[in-house]
């Protein structure tokens, strides 16, 4: 029972945490501090948390090998629609480090009115797994130095069906 409760709590944290508005600000809005219960210790930021950039700082938009269409195909080819009466947005935010590896995944979800909503785990688990399996993140550089950066994907869901991916 205890293990079940712990697992449920962990799943809740990963699958659809609440939004991040808090007066306990970290360095920047959207920063994801390391959480032992969520994050792999194998994933490291090369230049430390304090130096992580945002994907748009590089002025080239989201950078993925084969361009966004390749990423779109990855999801649309593999995502299996779930027959539920749930629509809205799911955002998965994560860090791409200087080696192109990903970690610190965080999920938030809302309905179509932007009100927090917990989606059926069959939806969020699929999207999280597919996001974690992406291997084409482009290493971004500033003055020739590879940087760590925050990236996010937003999935627009209509009745359990994936219809659009942003940014």
């Amino acid at each position: 029972m205890r293990i079940f409760l712990s697992l449920s709590f962990l799943l809740f944290l990963v699958s659809c945490s609440s939004n991040e508005n808090s007066h306990n600000y970290l360095r920047w809005v959207g920063d994801s501090a390391f959480k032992e219960q969520l994050d792999s210790t194998n994933f490291q930021l090369c230049n430390g948390d304090k130096n992580a950039s945002q994907y748009f700082h590089f002025q080239e938009g989201m950078q993925y090998v084969g361009e966004k269409i390749s990423l779109i195909n990855h999801f649309f080819d593999q995502y299996k629609s779930v027959n539920v009466d749930q629509s809205g947005w799911i955002r998965i935010r994560f860090v791409v480090n200087c080696k192109g590896e990903t970690g610190r995944f965080r999920v938030i979800c809302s309905d179509q009115e932007y009100t927090p909503q917990v989606f059926d785990p069959k939806i969020t688990d699929q999207l999280l797994t597919l996001t974690k399996s992406l291997k084409g993140w482009v290493i971004q550089r500033h003055d020739q130095t590879p940087k760590d950066y925050y990236q996010y994907l937003i999935f627009k869901i209509d009745n359990g069906k994936l219809i659009e991916i942003m940014p």
């Binding site: 360095r27 809005v29 945002q54 748009f56 080239e60 938009g61 938030i108 932007y114």
Partner: protein, 274 residues
């Protein structure tokens, strides 16, 4: 293209960070707002994502919880980090306390960042009903809000309505062509099988801002009217321009009607067997 974007970006950034005129609040006897506005100035010099920036605005809101500007300024970092829940809660407050000055931003961002077409249309149309002046351009300056509204209708599958909104906007003597207006209209004509009209407006786009997308879509229109020479010529030019970086580019999101290199390459392969 990159140069144009950089200039616009600087302009927009300057606009976004533009300090409200605190003295104006004082002049109009809004003392609380004046005080809040002055405190909000502490954010100056700090990045909008930073703790210092957010705290300065929190302090301003602690003085005057109706200070719409502070909610909007706080919301932007959440928008750009993809936190639609916090962003919406903050921008809703800005709209609540000052709808005429914030509906444009909320509507545009719903479209640009979240593809919330219905929500964007609702906001833009509400703004239009509230004011008797031109509703103006979107935050990044790329589109008049009526063109953005048209794009929303297009994304909802209402192409004819989108065309009619754009044409109506073009008929406004005060309207000047945006960087991509003709491109989007041309694609709408292409998608509604009005090929000659598409070619005509793509040629206008060529004069305004000759990007790879324009060459790609005009090539498709020429293909439909069996003009193989211009089809091929424009396709090759689309490939060249794309590789030179002369294409749609927004650092935050992908714009509507953007194409990918693989699409041009695929079409070039098809062209070989035509």
């Amino acid at each position: 293209m990159k140069k144009i974007f950089s200039i616009l970006y600087l302009f927009i950034t300057a606009q976004l960070y533009a300090q409200p005129n605190c003295q104006a609040y004082k002049y109009f006897g809004e003392d609380l707002k004046y005080e809040a506005c002055t405190v909000a100035e502490k954010r100056n010099g700090h990045y909008q994502f930073s703790k210092e920036y957010q705290i300065a605005l929190d302090e301003a809101l602690a003085i005057d919880s109706t200070f719409a500007f502070a909610y909007k300024a706080k919301s932007t970092a959440y928008l750009k980090s993809g936190d639609f829940i916090t962003w919406k809660a903050l921008i809703d407050k800005a709209v609540h306390f000052n709808p005429k000055e914030n509906l444009d931003y909320r509507g545009w961002c719903r479209f640009q960042f979240f593809n919330d077409y219905e929500g964007a249309i609702k906001d833009i149309e509400l703004l239009d009903s509230l004011v008797d002046y031109d509703i103006g351009h979107c935050q990044n300056g790329f589109y008049h809000l009526q063109i953005a509204r048209a794009l929303c209708y297009k994304c909802l599958g209402q192409n004819e309505k989108a065309i009619s909104i754009i044409l109506e906007q073009f008929n406004d003597p005060a309207h000047y062509a945006g960087l991509f207006d003709y491109l989007h209209l041309g694609v709408l004509y292409l998608e509604t099988e009005q090929y000659q009209k598409a070619i005509d407006v793509f040629k206008k786009q060529e004069q305004e801002n000759d990007i790879a997308e324009n060459r790609y879509y005009i090539a498709l229109a020429y293909k439909e009217v069996k003009n193989k020479k211009d089809y091929l010529e424009n396709l090759k030019l689309a490939f060249k321009k794309y590789n030179e970086g002369i294409r749609l580019l927004d650092p935050y999101v992908e714009q509507k009607d953007k194409i990918y290199l693989s699409q041009i390459e695929k079409e070039l392969e098809l062209a070989k067997i035509l």
